[in-house]
């Protein structure tokens, strides 16, 4: 037996310890990156805003945005436009998404769910420029003909497109929240003789409420930050609709202002600073929106963890109830109003009448009938969602088929895209995406390994995770402006492949980080302990036991990132692309890219030949992105089935 506490067999100052430490440092640097990025974006945008061409008050409240002729920089109409188009979108998206989420999580059979869920996720994969293209050539025409208005490029068109785009975000987050309600709650309620609908409405929805609210807020964030689709269908007149509820008025948002004007702005002039002011405003708005969603999602996590812990409520229950009721009724009134604006008095009247009828008779109706009414409403919303998906996909495919040919893929565009093919754009997109993923994957995966495996939960992880969440909610156009100011101008990379790749990478890091983190967390702690217990080091444990089962999840995240990067227009519009660019031979030349090519020929090149080429480009882009998303979804579903713990 040894004496003393020095020199034992297991006292080691081996190299292995230094290796472990340096590996940890590498991951830490990756994790820090997320935080630094968000702050540097904010700081750099602020720096470019100075000097603002007008004082802050008239910047926010001035009613005229005319940066070149009148030199007036009033963003009020832009803010109003953003709010109105978002409100309209939410009036469409919230009821449909909540119905969809309830249907998927509570009503659908396993088989039905396995079809509908991926379908809704596909809806999320359609690039915004494709939505915009659909809106431009179909929706606006329908609105023009159906309502007999001079142009269909209106607030209404923007709200409908934006609403459809927000559906997948709200549905998936709300569904997660509903799924997180412990099964015991539901079983408890059912065991008391409650019907399924009573259980859903009285137990499931109340316990998932903060998650559902967070889902709505994230949907709002998505809508506020959307650029390309809005820019293509809203008419872009910087006016406040008269009267305010005139849904057939053209409208201009903060994002579309940036999208339209940034490319042509003289650097360093008052207009340039004004635009960066708009970007800062947009960033601040989305930061606030996303922070509140992050906060709410944190609340649910705590709620489900803290079962059994008693905490004194902040306010008396009565006051909370009162606030809840007031909040609900305000929300209901807004929803009704938006419904009226978008669908007119007739449909709203019928719905209100039906609603009141059910409300009045609900005591007299049997539980069974109530359940039937509720379930058919929910079923109706899922049918509408699927129909929307079908119409959009069907139209894009049908419209684009004719343009596809071997030459379309292999030839460069000629005559401003009217003839020839899209080879340069296709290759350019692949270059951009390959570079972006090469940068984003190591950083995203490294950061999430650091977050899940190396840290104890604390201030640091909270900051990093919040940074990533905020980065995730930052509008893509803001990335575009940051890339323009930082990479193109400040680092003097010019409009170049490299600048585009880095900007896109910044944008997809959060996607990769989040999915990887989720995959790592799915590996049970007990497996890690099993590995430590036989004397494995932390890095050995991560590499041999944690990463292999998490690999499918990580690959899924990477592919989702690829899909997102290949469909994005706004981040590359001011950093990398040029319409007639050829395939670049170095990192410092501009490229053409599919989404940008589509955007340009759909909006700027007249003639039926251009229309046909745009249809073909939209189809190729859609197939490319949906292809990536489908692969990701397939991998995930396959391993979800085979992985059992």
């Amino acid at each position: 037996m040894r004496t003393g506490s020095q020199g034992g067999r297991w006292f080691s100052f081996l190299k292995k310890n230094y290796r472990e430490k340096s590996i940890k440092t590498i991951f830490f640097i990756a994790a820090l990156f997320g935080v630094i990025t968000i702050f540097s974006i904010l700081i750099f945008l602020l720096k470019e805003t100075y000097p603002l061409p007008t004082d802050i008050w008239s910047f926010l409240s001035g009613t005229t945005w005319s940066p070149t002729e009148q030199l007036k920089f009033g963003t009020y109409p832009l803010i109003v436009g953003t709010l109105l188009v978002t409100f309209g979108a939410m009036a469409l998206a919230i009821p449909l998404s909540l119905g969809g989420a309830l249907f998927i999580s509570e009503i659908a059979t396993h088989k039905l769910r396995s079809i509908i869920k991926p379908a809704i996720e596909l809806l999320a994969g359609i690039p915004s420029v494709v939505y915009g293209f659909f809106g431009l050539i179909i929706l606006t025409i329908w609105i023009k003909d159906f309502f007999g208005v001079p142009t269909g490029e209106t607030w209404l068109a923007g709200s409908i497109i934006l609403g459809i785009m927000a559906i997948p975000t709200i549905t998936t987050v709300a569904e997660d929240a509903i799924k997180a309600v412990p099964r015991e709650y539901k079983e408890g309620s059912l065991a008391m003789g409650a019907t399924k609908w009573q259980t859903i409405s009285k137990v499931v929805i109340p316990s998932a409420l903060s998650g559902i609210t967070a889902a709505i807020i994230l949907g709002i964030g998505r809508a506020v930050g959307e650029t390309m689709a809005i820019l293509m269908v809203c008419g872009n007149a910087a006016i406040i609709p008269t009267p305010l509820w005139n849904t057939f008025s053209p409208i201009r948002t903060l994002t579309s202002t940036l999208g339209i004007e940034t490319a042509e702005v003289p650097v360093g002039g008052p207009h340039y600073h004004g635009l960066f002011g708009v970007a800062v405003l947009l960033l601040v708005i989305t930061l606030i929106i996303n922070l509140s969603a992050v906060y709410l999602l944190g609340v649910i996590q705590k709620k489900h963890q803290a079962i059994g812990k008693k905490k004194k409520p902040l306010l008396p229950m009565k006051v909370v109830d009162y606030i809840k009721k007031m909040f609900t009724s305000i929300l209901l009134i807004i929803l009704l109003f938006m419904l009226y604006l978008t669908t007119g008095i007739f449909i709203t009247g019928i719905l209100v009448f039906l609603g009141l009828l059910v409300w009045y008779w609900r005591k007299k109706l049997s539980k069974r009938t109530l359940q039937r009414i509720a379930f058919s409403t929910i079923g109706g919303s899922i049918i509408i969602i699927i129909m929307l998906l079908g119409i959009i996909l069907g139209y894009i495919i049908f419209n684009g088929m004719g343009a596809l040919s071997w030459e379309f893929f292999t030839e460069a565009p000629r005559n401003l895209g009217r003839a020839g093919g899209i080879s340069t754009a296709l290759i350019g997109t692949l270059y951009l995406v390959a570079g972006a993923i090469a940068i984003a994957l190591p950083i995203g995966v490294g950061a999430s390994i650091y977050l899940t495996e190396y840290t104890k939960e604390g201030m640091m992880t909270k900051i990093i995770r919040t940074g990533a969440d905020l980065l995730n909610g930052t509008p893509s156009i803001v990335f575009g402006l940051f890339g323009f100011a930082f990479f193109v101008l400040y680092l003097k990379l010019g409009f170049s492949l490299l600048a585009g790749q880095i900007t896109l990478a910044f944008m997809i890091i959060p996607t990769i980080l989040r999915t990887t983190e989720e995959a790592l967390r799915c590996v049970p702690q007990s497996i890690r302990e099993g590995s430590y217990a036989v004397g494995a080091t932390r890095w050995q444990t991560i590499r041999r036991v944690v990463l292999p089962p998490a690999a499918p999840g990580i690959i899924t995240g990477a592919i989702l990132g690829i899909g997102r990067a290949s469909g994005e227009t706004a981040p590359i519009m001011f950093t990398a692309v040029a319409f007639s660019a050829i395939v670049p031979s170095s990192f410092f030349e501009p490229v053409n890219a599919l989404p940008y090519h589509l955007f340009t020929i759909a909006t700027s090149i007249p003639g039926s030949a251009a229309r046909a080429a745009a249809g073909g480009t939209a189809l190729v882009l859609l197939l490319l992105v949906i292809g990536f998303y489908s692969i990701a979804i397939l991998i995930r579903n396959h391993y979800q089935k085979t992985m059992k713990w």
């Binding site: 040894r2 034992g8 297991w10 006292f11 217990a533 036989v534 004397g535 041999r544 036991v545 713990w645």
Partner: protein
């Protein structure tokens, strides 16, 4: 064989965040004996056993003071390396936790992470470990199938075999039978008696009959304190503390 003190704790206190889970625990574990830790749920027995191989290191906000001596050396000394310690002190967990790999790779994992990749040696280690764990007969024809397909009892014996593969001196078992049926439990208990010839076994159990059946020494814990420690017969037949007596006779717990 002379009775050798292989583990000795001195004034061990442990906190999870604000909450203190262990209070001044002082006890000794003799080599080649089975020592059982018993007590009602939440008494700190699992926490204590996890101190012996520094498994609490992986839990957030866990703070520990005092010393745990293994062979006379403090494993909580600032220079002590938890990884090296765990090679000497293996652990089997409450729920079987095989890796999602083949049976063979589960056992070979320990030797492999320590740098042994010699196929022949690994073959020998795998067979030997499975034989000691009384699992060889049942799985020898499907060594390269996934361990996840085994029954609960087989998985737990696999985990025991996995801990044997690195030739530890002590095997810690944290309620190893709590998720097993009586037949699988009996097999594990037999196994423990075999194991003590070569190893020292420390087991946490909430099943008092099990403690009485298999252990040589028993420690009774309550609310994070070590109430009584002694030979198993003495604890069960002639407890000196009233609390122990009440628990043993089933009047609370």
């Amino acid at each position: 064989m002379a009775e050798k003190e292989i583990i000795k704790t001195v004034d061990v206190n442990l906190w999870y965040g604000e909450k203190q889970a262990l209070f001044n625990v002082n006890m000794s574990v003799l080599a080649h004996k089975i020592t059982a830790l018993i007590g009602p749920s939440g008494c700190g027995k699992s926490t204590l056993i996890r101190c012996f191989n520094r498994m609490n290191d992986v839990i957030d906000r866990c703070k520990i003071t005092g010393s745990v001596f293994f062979d006379g050396n403090d494993i909580y000394h600032p220079d002590a390396d938890a990884v090296e310690i765990r090679k000497k002190i293996g652990m089997v967990f409450q729920k079987p936790n095989p890796f999602p790999k083949s049976i063979y790779e589960n056992i070979a994992y320990g030797p492999r992470v320590q740098g042994n990749n010699n196929k022949k040696e690994l073959d020998i280690i795998v067979e030997k470990s499975l034989r000691i764990a009384a699992l060889w007969e049942e799985v020898s024809d499907r060594l390269h199938e996934s361990a996840i397909g085994l029954s609960g009892g087989q998985q737990q014996r696999l985990c025991i075999a996995r801990s044997l593969a690195i030739e530890p001196e002590i095997i810690l078992m944290d309620e190893p039978c709590s998720s097993l049926d009586p037949i699988a439990t009996a097999k594990i208990e037999d196994l423990m008696t075999t194991l003590k010839k070569k190893y020292t076994v420390i087991i946490v159990t909430h099943n008092m009959q099990q403690a009485a059946r298999v252990s040589d020494y028993t420690a009774y814990m309550y609310l994070g304190k070590l109430i009584e420690f002694g030979k198993t017969e003495q604890i069960f037949e002639d407890p000196r503390e009233e609390l122990t007596d009440k628990y043993i006779t089933g009047r609370f717990g």
